[in-house]
């Protein structure tokens, strides 16, 4: 265990090999002359073209099941699971998209899911990035053993401890409420681990310099580290949001009242004892993907923004 802890510590780039900040902290202007530039541009254009082609093929391969999902959402229930598979509905049942709002309280379920996902994501990102700073940039005894505890629990399948956990929650009077789920999922080890690994890539010299400037540790976290870790924050937020949004077992066990149900539970309510309304399930699935897409489109901007701002700032 202790060995492992030391290894983890060693995971940070040693101070010597860490990228030294460029004197002026700016990207160097291109030194190439005119002729070289145009050949480079031509080369870039060809590469771009190849990349577009590869991506287009890839996207098609990745979208096929989703296309089936959309197509199924426009069929009658008894036309979905046919042999052979039917890609284009023989008759487009657009009414599925209007019926679903009245068949189940879809709007309410969406609100519940959104509420849970937003709160859990915010708490996870906030507490996760705080704890990650403690685990990566502050040195104190017992730090790495504690961190190992965090990683260790990720390895235990939830199925193994969900009943002890439920009994505990029941005794605290927290079952059948959103609070139970928020408390369970907001403080997971995932966010701490992700953010810690990212902070490891940020050179310690930056913190050092900030300290010399007189910043407190909290100030360094808020003013130096957080702005630098936007890409990681965005990906943590996105992944937490998606996982919370798509979670089925957690809400299933902890939310009993129908008014607390999330979208995933609502969709499963179309599964009966002996058969299921697959067209409705697919309709609901298509609808429930839309918020995730919105979040992704907003969040993905930060993945690229990092490039310009990475490295050192003043």
């Amino acid at each position: 265990m202790t060995n492992m802890a030391e290894d983890l510590k060693a995971g940070a780039p040693p101070a010597g090999t860490a990228p030294a900040p460029a004197p002026d902290g700016r990207r160097r202007p291109p030194v190439a002359g005119n002729g070289r530039r145009s050949s480079r541009e031509r080369k870039k254009r060809t590469t771009d073209f190849i990349i577009y082609a590869v991506l287009a093929v890839l996207v098609l391969a990745l979208m096929v099941p989703f296309i089936w999902m959309v197509s199924s959402s426009l069929k009658e229930n008894n036309q979905v699971l046919t042999v052979p598979i039917q890609w284009i509905p023989s008759e487009f049942v657009w009414s599925n998209y209007t019926d679903i709002w009245t068949r189940i309280p879809m709007m309410g379920y969406l609100q519940n899911s959104l509420y849970l996902a937003v709160i859990i994501t915010c708490l996870q990102v906030l507490t996760g990035s705080l704890a990650a700073y403690g685990f990566s940039k502050v040195c104190f005894p017992g730090r790495d053993v504690l961190f190992l505890c965090y990683i260790g629990t990720i390895a235990v399948p939830w199925q193994a401890y969900m009943v002890p956990q439920y009994i505990m929650m029941q005794n605290l009077g927290l079952t059948n409420s959103f609070n139970a789920l928020i408390l369970l999922q907001a403080f997971g080890a995932f966010g701490v681990f992700l953010m810690r690994q990212y902070y490891m890539t940020i050179p310690d010299e930056l913190c050092e310099a900030a300290r010399i400037d007189g910043l407190s540790e909290y100030g360094i976290w808020a003013r130096v580290i957080l702005p630098l870790s936007k890409p990681a924050l965005a990906s943590l937020a996105l992944l937490t949001f998606v996982n919370t949004w798509n979670d089925y077992m957690g809400p299933f066990i902890y939310l009993t009242s129908n008014r607390l149900w999330t979208v995933q539970l609502g969709l499963r309510s179309f599964v009966g004892q002996f058969d299921a309304e697959y067209a409705m399930i697919m309709t609901g699935s298509v609808i429930s993907v839309i918020p995730i897409l919105a979040i992704f489109l907003i969040g993905q901007r930060y993945f690229i923004q990092g490039i310009a701002t990475s490295g050192m700032k003043g």
């Binding site: 983890l8 996207v59 507490t127 007189g214 993905q300 990475s310």
Partner: protein
Amino acid sequence: MTTKTITPAAAPAAAPAPGRGNRKQARRNTLIGWTFILPNFLGFLAFTLIPVLAAFALSFMEWTSFSAPKWVGLANFQRMLASDSFWVALRNTVVYAIGHVPLTMALALLLAMLLNRKLKGIGFFRVAIFFPYITSLVAVAVVWNMLFSPDNGPINQFLHTIGIANAPGWTSSSDWALPAVIITSVWRDMGYYMVLYLAGLQAIPAELYEAAEVDGASAWQRFWNVTIPSLRPTTFFVVVMLTVSSFKVFDLIVVMTNGGPGRATTVLSQLIYQEGIGEGKFGYSSAISLVLFLIVLTVTVLQFKIQQRRER
């Protein structure tokens, strides 16, 4: 940076220089460290760590969830080691992990490099690659099973045209069901890990690439000497998360093959679920999860050692 609350001399918290570190300093650091960790740790301790430890304790007991647990010592472990189903599930889980982890990692990194650039419409492509992860599992299972269909599925038809006469039976064959599941899960998960790599790539300062380019390094050399070393922390995270999630794989297998044909794709977490909440043998299922936990921990440590040795 407007108010100077701390004098520089009192501040160094990270990597205190040997000799200068005094007790007061250490206590200060501990205090600071804990204030950062505490908000998360309190929740983690109460709602994850304690139940996990309770589950581990249960592995030495017999418990039906209806009555008080009874101490049985190592009986659950003896039963487990003697059980055929346990070994089958363990083997399947290990094979799954061996297939799933490297493939997903390689493809996720490849995709992240491909998408880590400024191109028109790059946002759309990024979203598209994340799509498999958010597509309904039922749709994934139905469509992939159709692609894998032994007689008239597109995959086998393709294999026939390139001259493979004995195309595999995929999900309806004991030997090929696991590879089929691995392929599907790689396809599904690579977008997820791509997001993590994409964030990791952002942390690499552009100066490093520029310097390498000035030195005349080829694209391959830049990848090998700049990208890979700089991504080390991210890679460690991805490897650990992938290993853990491979050993815990559950949903996809349940929907795609439900462990079949026979027991060909039954995995440990399925066994834990069935034996535990399915049949009420919570002590036994906890014993399996303790073993699963130990395996994953060992693998994680090993992966780290290997990775480190290669770098030296």
